[in-house]
Symmetry: C2
DNA sequence: AGATGTGAATGAGTTCACAGCT
DNA sequence: AGCTGTGAACTCATTCACATCT
């Protein structure tokens, strides 16, 4: 593989995930081949955008025919790095951290939570799902031993920055930040925010005008 | 208020939420006035973009001086509809639904979960946080009585569409969908997806090339 | 004929740079 | 002098329309 991954837009990338999901659904229905037009019709996507998105990474279809589902799915999975297992650690085992550990969507996926950590001695040692909460001090060893590269940051806002820095120091290479904070983030660690309140505030804004509206995207 | 809210980009809107958060932080530090340049410097924002974003809604600053924090915060809150209480219902009280109900970030905010519902009789009746899980059949009455306009959809993927339609029928006006599904959504209901796996797959992609990278945005 | 892959055209979003106010 | 508010320039993203291949 050899694409300057820094040059691919997150928008494109997130759509690839959506495409993949749609394709798998069709595959599970026994379908083996589809055109961009039919795919778009089925899932309200843009056929042109589907083709343009793929075009960044090579040729995937057969002119005059369409796309072979098995082939396309496999190539998209490789493209997104879903052909290898990703070990993740959860930092902060409050309500959110626990929900993440128990999240059934990870079963049968290539994403796996290998440890949940917390600083609070009252939480350390608890059994959550199949994991025992580990003390935060052991972050470095755990990350190293488990080969974890992804960290899910689920601590309270005031301590998020400090926890983040510990994660970076421990060798974590990508972070999903659930804390409602603008992290001062390390340049070599891919850091993405998932912020519930920002989404709610967007809904709140649109609730003010009682006209129809659709965001779409993601 | 009178802006065609349909014409405001979610990008702008989400940044307004970020600005608001940053401004509150400064306010809590006793600061009363700030320039766009200083704000940008403090929180790695773009000063020009900050001004442009605000410009869509009127004039907020004083030329030669900057912005009055109290005034700006208050106006942004009104703008986003954060001056009124938002009642929310959670549909699907599995792990995620429970975490949402217990989420401490709602305390002291204008967002409040007034009910959690589930179809599973084994879950109905459970006490989660300060709520007792209600049977899904009562959705309509609960929405009506509580004046809930926002719904948090936290059911398994296969039943998400059907649950969504029930929510729309019950009078919900805006939905945050946590299920990994492309909903066929109703035109008059503002529907937004929050998708953990899509975010992880984005991280996965970038983990493949070990160069530095930053997404930024939201 | 039919669907892909792609340059060209359009549209959206961001940054620049400065006029205008305090 | 300093900072806002904003048209103009630019960059990024999406859509169109067609040449190209099966």
């Amino acid at each position: 593989m050899s694409f300057a991954s820094g040059s691919v837009s997150p928008l494109t990338l997130n759509r690839l995930s959506v495409y993949l999901r749609c394709l798998r659904r069709l595959q599970s229905q026994g379908i083996e081949r589809i055109s961009s037009k039919d795919l778009a019709g089925e899932f309200r996507l843009s056929a042109a955008q589907f083709r343009k998105d793929l075009a960044q990474f090579g040729e995937f279809g057969i002119r005059g025919i369409g796309y072979d589902l098995n082939d396309l799915i496999e190539r998209l999975e490789r493209l997104l790095g879903l052909d290898i297992a990703h070990h993740m650690v959860v930092v902060g085992m409050g309500n959110l951290g626990r929900a993440l550990v128990r999240y059934p969507g990870f079963n049968g996926s290539n994403f796996q939570i290998v440890a949940g950590l917390d600083v609070d001695p009252a939480i350390v040692g608890l059994e959550i799902g199949s994991l025992k909460v580990q003390p935060f001090e052991q972050l470095h060893q755990i990350v190293e031993r488990a080969g974890a590269r992804i960290g899910l940051l689920a601590v309270p806002a005031p301590v998020a920055q400090s926890a983040y820095e510990n994660m970076v120091a421990a060798g974590i290479r990508a972070v999903l930040n659930f804390a409602p904070v603008r992290l001062h983030h390390h340049a070599t660690v891919y850091t993405k925010n998932v912020d519930l309140k920002i989404n709610l505030e967007e809904l709140s804004f649109f609730l003010q005008s009682p006209d129809q509206s659709q965001p779409e995207a993601l």
